[in-house]
Subunit: 365 residues, 2 copies
């Protein structure tokens, strides 16, 4: 499958008359070669690739590439590596595409290393193309995300049971419980640092620090936002927990979030513009005098935030397509009433949308 | 202290005839305002700053700035925010400095937002200046790093005791032990995801995944690399653990690493070029037929890797100065013999260098 993905890149290079390109993102390189970290991958229009890993021991176990050269041979200097590796793809009359996130001040040195080749740096170049490819999951990716969701659902149930029994006392207890279960169940780990915000901190969008040693107080609302990474692919869910009888304000926020969530899920289908779903949520919240400080959702995969983006403000239509896997996560945060967010993961296939995770608002006495 | 640091930036802006600048890095913004995450900070030559935080609840608790405007008011679009905030500092005849890591393709939109002001994007501009400022710690920073080191040393001793008693069985057990102790002792957390690599994985520079659910086997060499963050400032140490009688190869690697470490520590003093210390380590290892795939050390502070950089390959002299706090971490990694790294943190003050952490090579039967 890595080879098939690389073939698609080679075809794109050919179509765009690009002789060589390189990528530096961990997720992009894992997608194309299996190598999970700290590398540069150079791809040639001729259908060949060279991987430059920092850690050659790791590369020899994991990476699939036509040639592997230790990045340390070039002292991990990108321009030195390019000078050595580009070969015929550099020089006058050639075209070299570089990542869209290349810092502006480094362009000069990269141009030098390309020895007169045209250096192309654009948002909608290869960076955009790989992002588009990754936004439509292939079968192996759907299977991995399905496994990540299964593990997540098991952990949500365990969490529910433990919270019900009162056996997890602090934010720290909850966060470490999630990390332990993620790895014990065969995951690569949690997909990102879990956010465990007790009632005094649930007003944060992404509470800082993500969790503390303090007690997870059993009053008001708490937010637990986590993912489980299975073989590189991560889920992303948020569980809101309510203790006791919620205040009128909190009940209203909870109802609004649940309504926004239900309406959003109902509208998901192939061909729908995600902006419209997100705009409807904005309307529901605005009418009630609230506003949501973040997007409605985002793609998940090798990264926890990737295309597609479900938000009201996009300039171009964001059409939902089969193969996409993304979160739906309406949330409201009030400085004193606290926060409420409900987040699940949706997989859109030929059979329509499936909510693959089972997060919900949990209530305890 | 945040104000004093901002004053230094305003002076720099004035000296460079820059009317306004913005920074986006979490560590830079925490350094200048106390706000720890997800913000943009706009600084004006006139001695004023505007903070644009994503999370206003968090900002109201933590941030010190002349004005705070929710970034969501601009839909978290940088150019929209600049258009609204730059005011008199934009327009013809003005000069606006932007971060050195600004992606090349976004320059056009930023120029538009600056309405004819000259837009300056350079490695050695404000980004470099703040990095230089941060490389020389002030008294409050030295105190926080001292506290981080104290907690780290306590945890190293506890780890030693637990490993001796055999009470931590898996990589996961060790990693969660570190996280629990970091937060229980009052730290903000571990400073980065701990790397806990049992003997089968200690050949990795930064083992991937950082830790697994597998047993931490009690044979050969294992590597435990972690830091404790106290109020934003992190330590960074590596403990190598040896079980039983090491093989001849492993003993040789251990002796070489210890020798490189001891010689490096001995050479640290004000005014010394860190490249020379690192080059000496390269020589020691090369003579023995080894090579080290990473630098000798790096500054620590609000980020776990920051200036100064102790490596042999720098183009300019890297003179050690009082106020610097940095790691010394020689390491060797062999695909089958395993890995050995010894890393401690050094604080260089008027009284000379002090090794503030107490990591060492731990040996068990």
């Amino acid at each position: 499958m890595h080879r098939r993905r690389r073939e698609q890149v080679y075809q794109w290079l050919d179509h765009e008359s690009v002789d060589a390109a390189y990528v530096t993102g961990d997720a992009e390189i894992r997608y194309l070669t299996g190598m999970p970290s700290d590398s540069v991958l150079v791809l040639f229009r001729t259908g060949r690739c060279v991987l430059l890993p920092w850690d050659v021991n790791l590369a020899s176990e994991r990476a699939e590439a036509d040639e592997i050269i230790p990045y340390t041979e070039f002292d991990r200097k990108l321009t030195d590596a390019l000078r050595a590796v580009l070969g015929d793809a550099a020089g006058p009359g050639r075209r070299v595409e570089i990542p869209a996130d290349t810092p502006h001040p480094s362009l000069g040195d990269i141009r030098d290393a390309a020895c007169g080749a045209e250096v192309v740096c654009r948002v909608d170049g290869l960076t955009g193309e790989i992002s588009r490819m990754r936004s439509i999951k292939d079968d192996s990716e759907l299977a991995l995300l399905g496994r990540a969701a299964e593990l997540t659902n098991k952990v949500i149930d365990e969490l529910d049971e433990a919270l019900g029994a009162g056996s997890l006392e602090s934010e720290l207890d909850i966060a470490l419980f999630l990390e332990r279960r993620a790895r014990s169940l065969g995951g690569e780990g949690t997909g990102f640092e879990p956010i465990v915000a007790g009632p005094s901190r649930s007003n944060g969008i992404h509470a800082f620090p993500a969790f503390t040693g303090a007690r997870f107080a059993r009053t008001g609302s708490g937010i637990i936002d986590f993912g489980i990474n299975f073989d590189g692919y991560t889920s992303d869910v948020t569980v809101t927990v309510l203790f006791g009888e919620p205040s009128a304000a909190l009940r209203r926020m909870t109802d609004l979030v649940q309504q926004a969530y239900d309406e959003s899920i109902e509208r998901i289908e192939e061909g729908v513009d995600a902006r419209d779903i997100a705009r409807r949520v904005d309307t529901v919240f605005e009418r009630a005098g609230y506003s949501m400080p973040h997007g409605l959702g985002h793609g998940i995969g090798l990264e926890v935030h990737e295309a597609p983006w479900l938000k009201s403000s996009g300039e171009a239509p964001a059409l939902l397509s089969r193969g996409m896997v993304f979160t739906v996560e309406p949330g409201l945060y009030h400085s004193t009433d606290g926060g409420v967010r409900l987040e699940n993961d949706v997989m859109l296939t030929a059979d329509g949308p499936t909510i693959i995770t089972t997060s919900r608002i949990l209530r305890y006495a």
